[in-house]
Amino acid sequence: MSASAAYDEKLVYMANQIARNFSIHGEEKAVASTLDHIRMFWDPRMRARILDHLRAGGVGLEPTTRRALELLSLAATE
């Protein structure tokens, strides 16, 4: 695996892990909390990188994570 792909995989893992830990609160709250967490704690280049991954198909993203990132993407383009 290339270093670039490994980095994408790591970011996907981190985002999924956040979503998984919020999942107990129910889907809608988990999406909102995941979005908020990534906004509050991730450096912009990490956010940009995972949004690129999302736009490229988002391999590996769990549904809750994907929804949170889609909202993040929407906010980024607004």
Binding site: S4, Y7, K10, R20, N21, M40, F41, D43, R45, M46
Partner: protein, 945 residues
């Protein structure tokens, strides 16, 4: 400057609601009921002669020097053991008493070498003082009879000697070991004239159970137990009160000096955190400050394979600044960052984060708390509203039930452990939640009521299981919850924890903790009186570290164990200034005082104070910096006082990340492991060479005072300032007190803090502001910082680090008493004698299955890498679990640990790594390569020495 000597009233102060009035030698004095006559006399200004009595120990009444007469009473009672009473009339001096004392003293001296002029305690000997006080002028008994004058010295301990020929068998050392330290390693062996002090079973001090805390030496009234440094140098001539630079207890010490040479470090009786006690590190392991390997001149090099070139400070700083600017011009403002140090002062960490935010122009600043207590910050802020422990250390004295989770206080926080053990010996109950049988589980006169020896990685299941029992059995404190917490959130949480998957039986299947043990622990914590939780990195360094912290907070709220002395949630911080470095804005998402960078109102404060626009976006964490370096967007780093190559997980990954950077600036005392990848080395200063403050685990801010000129030329805050000025962002602080003034101006929880006030009060626990002008010992009294306490659902999500056929064992890591973190300091002291290498603890079943015997070399392999070390076969660990320390670079335990981390904070999951252990006869390939590279790196620095 003077030699500071605390007053000694002979017996401890008593707390009482009533007072008694008595007359001592015609002086009327009022004292709390229960106070000894000796102490009452001392308060009245009258020093009764004494030898076996000292204020830190309970009265013993053996030396017969403190005899007094009390009107209406027969005989001459010992004033140390006689309580003062209302209307008592005491006489401390008359012909009868003089004669008695002189006779007793004559007997002491008849078996004592009269070598006062050449004795190491000459001028600092209570026996000498008392001989003078009682007017002893002759000794009628010769040395012809039996005596102890030729008793053999024990010089086995590297730091002190035991000379029994000078011992007066006052038992102060034995009692100090019992009462102050709680190890009970010393005893009086034999009877009558044959009585001698003995370490353990008449062993040498080094071989005995002695933990070298130094309490016995401090208590010794003669030169019997004496620091070797005093024997070598002589007695000190002045002392400076300062703060220890080892663990998060934050002991106050008197640095006793002769000129600029440290003679000894003596724990300060008025130190609020340590109350005159110490451990082997703070008391003795300060020799690294003058170690020959310390680098004192700045060095630079173009490539990490080049020899280091010694240069002037000006050239090194100019070069470092030009490299940072070059990288930012070529790769963007965010291409560089910095790491603050929990070993440095508040003022120094504040300055490094200011440098990054104001001079670098980004938020790429992080700190070593990332890899230890960052989940504490997240968890306690979420539930209570602030990122800190709730109590002061004194609080433990009011606890009825003490729950220790994932912490090993007797090794990691030994001085606080002694205080905790004292409370346990007095009757408080103990619950230990830890995969290992730590010393606290069973130690002299202390035995845990419950030891929950859980499988590593199952903290959240166990903690939520405890909540299940508390809620299901109606043990929750509903009145507290209704008043202090969000009750709707509580109801939701209560329903959650009652789920069958958190029943004790279900939790037993996951964690291995017997259901009845879990039930017993929950019942005891909830209904045993004041319940206090103390936890450490065994909670935080997990993929659910933050969740576990919140689960702990839930337990405390559910049982009403918050907001008063004796209770609370208390993170035991690892390094001396972890709390402070976090407080000072060292995280990439927070400014000073835990305020998020996205808050425009907060940024406006710093925009104005610093004359820049603070970046509103969070920066990179350490792990993100390494990843971004490998990915190509992060090119340079300034690291103050941290050795990320040895301390952070997956060493190979860290090495690759550092290797991908174009400019690594290491600012440290020694060429640490990270320096192998550095291009600029800036020599650091020790805690003895600078002024500033540290903040300990109880939020206590304490002064660090300079006792000698920095051998490297500058204090660390001055070096950061030089770098900032070279980068074109001017800093002109003349003294760290001015930095603290800036912190106070910009931070609501520090508004009332200043060096002057610290000097006056001795220490201050933040918050310190108009509402609490002298600080806040206990937080969340009346209400939580966030208003209502917040219950958080803590679902157990098992780690992705799984055992299997290839890696069937779970490795967990930790520290040992005599070494400190990566060992950069303690490995350069005589502490090496106790722990010269990291060893792997393995259960006898697992060892036998693998053909491993105690002391054998074994290969420890995981999915990340492998290393070799020697095995220690012990049932301290459960079958299936192995344990090691990470103090030695030759072992590099973190070659093995994985990159899994806490979901919320990226704190690495050091405590859970799937491994295999097998016998081996040769070092791992990585070790061989690393040893070669490390040796080469040190050779590259040789011309500069």
């Amino acid at each position: 400057m003077k030699l500071y000597n605390e007053s000694d009233h002979g017996t401890p102060a008593k707390k009482a609601t009533s007072e008694v009035k008595l007359s001592v030698d015609g002086r009327v004095v009022s004292v709390p009921a229960g106070t000894s006559v000796m102490r009452a006399a001392a308060i009245a200004g009258i020093g009764v002669p004494k030898l076996c009595a000292t204020e830190s120990l309970e009265a013993f009444g053996s030396c017969r020097m403190c005899l007094v007469e009390i009107e209406g009473r027969n005989g001459t009672p010992a004033s140390c053991t006689t309580p003062a009473a209302e209307g008592m009339v005491v006489h401390t001096q008359n012909e009868r008493l003089k004669k008695l004392r002189r006779g007793v003293m004559e007997l002491y001296i008849s078996d004592h070498p009269l070598d006062c002029l050449t004795c190491s305690a000459n001028g600092d000997c209570e026996l000498q003082d008392m001989a003078g006080a009682v007017g002893l002028r002759e000794v009628r008994y010769g040395y012809d009879g039996e005596n102890h004058l030729k008793a053999k010295k024990d010089e086995s301990n590297p730091y002190f000697t035991f000379d029994p020929s000078k011992c007066i068998v006052c038992s102060r050392c034995v009692r100090a070991c019992d009462e102050t330290q709680g190890t009970l390693a010393l005893t009086i062996q034999g009877r009558g004239f044959g009585s001698t002090v003995s370490a353990s079973q008449n062993q040498s001090f080094l071989e005995s159970e002695c933990v070298s805390c130094g309490a016995c030496i401090k208590a010794c009234p003669t030169a019997t137990l004496m620091e070797k440094s005093v024997i070598d140098i002589g007695l000190p001539e002045h002392s400076v009160i300062t703060t220890c630079a080892y663990c998060g207890v934050g002991c106050t010490f008197k640095a006793e000096m002769r000129g600029e040479e440290v003679v000894r470090m003596v724990p300060f009786d008025d130190g609020k955190a340590n109350q005159g006690h110490s451990c082997v590190k703070g008391r003795f392991a300060w020799g690294y400050t003058t170690h020959k390997e310390r680098v004192l001149k700045p060095m630079i090099r173009a490539k990490v394979t080049d020899p280091w070139q010694e240069v002037s400070w000006e050239r090194a700083i100019t070069h470092a600044a030009s490299e940072i600017r070059r990288l930012q011009e070529a790769h963007g403002r965010g291409a560089v960052g910095g790491i603050t140090s929990s070993r440095c002062t508040n003022e120094e960490t504040f300055l490094v984060q200011k440098l990054v935010r104001a001079a670098f122009g980004n938020n790429n600043v992080d700190t070593c708390a990332r890899v230890c207590h960052s989940p504490t910050g997240y968890g306690l802020k979420t539930t209570f509203g602030t990122s800190a422990g709730t109590q002061d250390f004194e609080s433990v004295e009011h606890a009825d039930v003490i729950m220790v989770i994932g912490a090993n206080p007797t090794d990691g926080h030994p001085v606080f452990a002694s205080r905790m053990k004292r409370r346990l010996r007095a009757g408080a109950k103990l619950i230990v939640i830890d995969p290992r049988r730590i010393d606290l589980v069973r130690t002299p006169h202390v035995e845990a009521s419950h030891h929950l020896a859980l499988q590593p990685g199952t903290n959240v299941a166990v903690l939520t299981g405890l909540a299940h029992v508390i809620v299901s059995e109606g043990l929750a404190n509903e009145a507290f919850i209704r008043e202090r917490c969000d009750f709707d959130e509580y109801l939701q949480w209560a329903e959650f924890v009652k789920r069958p998957e958190y029943s004790p039986e279900a939790v037993e299947k996951v964690s291995g903790v017997p259901a009845e043990t879990l039930r017993g622990a929950a019942r005891l914590y909830a209904s045993g009186g004041n319940g206090a939780i103390y936890y450490g990195l065994g909670v935080t360094e997990h993929s659910q570290g933050s969740t576990a912290v919140m689960a702990i907070a839930n337990l405390a709220m559910a049982t009403g164990n918050l907001g008063r002395p004796g209770v609370g949630v208390n993170p035991l911080r690892g390094q001396n200034n972890v709390q402070g470095s976090c407080d000072m804005g060292s995280f990439p998402h927070e400014l000073v005082g835990y305020r998020h960078v996205s808050d425009a109102a907060v940024r406006a404060i710093f925009d104005k104070a610093w004359g820049v626009k603070v970046d509103p976006e969070p920066g990179l964490r350490i792990s993100n910096m390494i990843d971004s370096a490998l990915e190509g967007s992060f090119k340079g780093i300034y690291i103050q006082g941290e050795d990320i190559l040895q301390s952070d997980p997956n060493t190979k990954h860290i090495a690759a990340g550092l290797g991908a950077m174009e400019c690594v600036i290491v600012h440290d005392l020694f060429l640490n492991e990270t320096a192998s990848y550095a291009h600029v080395f800036l020599p650091g200063s020790t805690f003895l060479e600078k002024d500033g403050t540290f903040t300990n685990a109880e939020r206590r801010i304490q002064l660090v005072r300079k006792v000698m000129t920095p051998r490297n030329g500058y204090a660390d805050w001055e070096i950061t300032q030089l770098l900032s000025n070279a980068l074109g962002y001017p800093m002109h602080y003349a003294h760290p007190s001015e930095i603290m003034d800036e912190i106070a101006r910009t931070t609501p929880t520090f508004t009332g803090v200043s060096f002057d006030k610290l000097d006056r009060l001795g220490s201050i626990q933040w918050p310190c502001n108009d509402r609490a002008p002298e600080g806040t010992p206990v937080m969340h009294v009346g209400s939580f910082v966030r208003g209502k306490g917040r219950f958080v659902l803590t679902e157990f999500v098992p780690t992705d680090e799984k055992t299997g056929p290839r890696f069937p064992l779970l490795l967990t890591t930790g520290r040992i008493l005599t070494q400190y973190n990566v060992g950069a300091q303690t490995r350069r002291t005589a502490n090496e004698v106790w722990h010269p290498e990291d060893r792997l603890e393995i259960h006898p079943f697992d060892a036998e299955e693998r053909g491993v015997k105690d002391g054998d070399w074994v290969k420890l392999a995981s999915r990340s890498g492998e290393t070799t070390l020697r095995a220690q076969v012990t049932d301290r660990v459960a079958p299936g679990v192995v344990y090691t320390t990470f103090h030695h670079p030759s072992t590099q335990a973190n070659v093995v640990t994985s990159e899994y981390a806490d979901w919320a904070t990226s704190c690495p999951e050091y405590k859970v790594t799937a491994v295999q252990v097998s016998p081996t006869r040769e070092p791992a390939e990585w070790q061989t390569q690393y040893a070669r590279m490390s040796a080469d790196q040190r050779k590259l620095a040789e011309p500069s020495k």
